[in-house]
Symmetry: C2
Subunit: 170 residues, 2 copies
């Protein structure tokens, strides 16, 4: 379950975010707005801007999956130096590619994995608590905030862009 | 796992949302702002306002849990007539109370449950797909959007208010 909750669903959300950024790019083109205006936009003066929201969504996905699989060192490094939508798209794709290398078998011990972060000092979370209470809320937070920043700037996006397609049966 | 992912975590997020609304109330009082200004605030003209975001977060939680447990009819009814922060707090609490009545045993068949909604017509999702791809992304979407509306209005809240406390071990 943790594999589907993180690897599969995080990959889907990053692809939804990519499609949302495509709409932002088309919007900027149509309105003759410099995309940098959107990338530096934020909803409060002390909030991270759109670029940073996308970067953090990517990091949340790659680091959560890497840590849950016990392969923290395998995560691709990113320098946080993206300045264009195209560069953010490359970053998103690199994380989607990275996630695609994981299998459910890699998550055999994920629930009981000990997850630490430098700023937690000596403390840790179990893989299960980390996934449910930290990684999942965080990725949706940053994707939704990126979406909200674009919505606030007039980009025509809706809940369907955020959720992506659903596997309806009949 | 679906029980923890929905019942436990949705209840936690609603309580975090309640604490965020408490901060909004204190902010309005200090700044001598009518709380109704915050409640009717939104980030785009065609976006649901704060009141509606809170109502939908509540409905997402109660209906997802009710459906996954095969007890759709047991969910408490709400008239969407809240006009104050205090009334929204009552609504949140009523859903938290409702969720507290569920046990892991109620979720024994949740993954294979057939989930339908009137607007999906004849189509359905399995309980597993519904939880992972619909209910979970949706509740975080509406809690984050409520948070973003308040952040945009100057309420001093941060990621910790959104995530709530984490069960660190040492």
């Amino acid at each position: 379950m943790l594999y589907d909750l993180t690897v599969v669903q995080f990959s889907k959300m990053l692809q939804n975010l990519s499609a949302i950024l495509d709409k932002a790019e088309a919007f900027a083109e149509t309105k003759k707005i410099d995309p940098a205006v959107l990338l530096s936009s934020r909803l409060a003066p002390d909030q991270f801007n759109l670029t940073r929201q996308v970067q953090i969504a990517c990091d949340t996905a790659k680091l959560a999956v890497a840590r849950l699989a016990g392969k923290a060192e395998s995560a691709p490094k990113h320098e946080d130096d993206e300045t264009t939508l195209a560069e953010l798209q490359v970053r998103i794709q690199s994380v989607v590619d990275y996630l695609s290398g994981f299998t459910p078998e890699d998550f055999a011990a994920a629930e009981t994995q000990t997850i630490t972060q430098p700023r937690w000092k000596e403390k840790y979370l179990t893989g299960r608590d980390f996934a449910l209470q930290h990684a999942v809320p965080n990725i949706y937070f940053h994707v939704t905030t990126a979406y909200a920043i674009l919505r606030h700037n007039g980009v025509e996006i809706g809940k369907k862009d955020y959720l992506g397609s659903l596997p309806y049966k009949s």
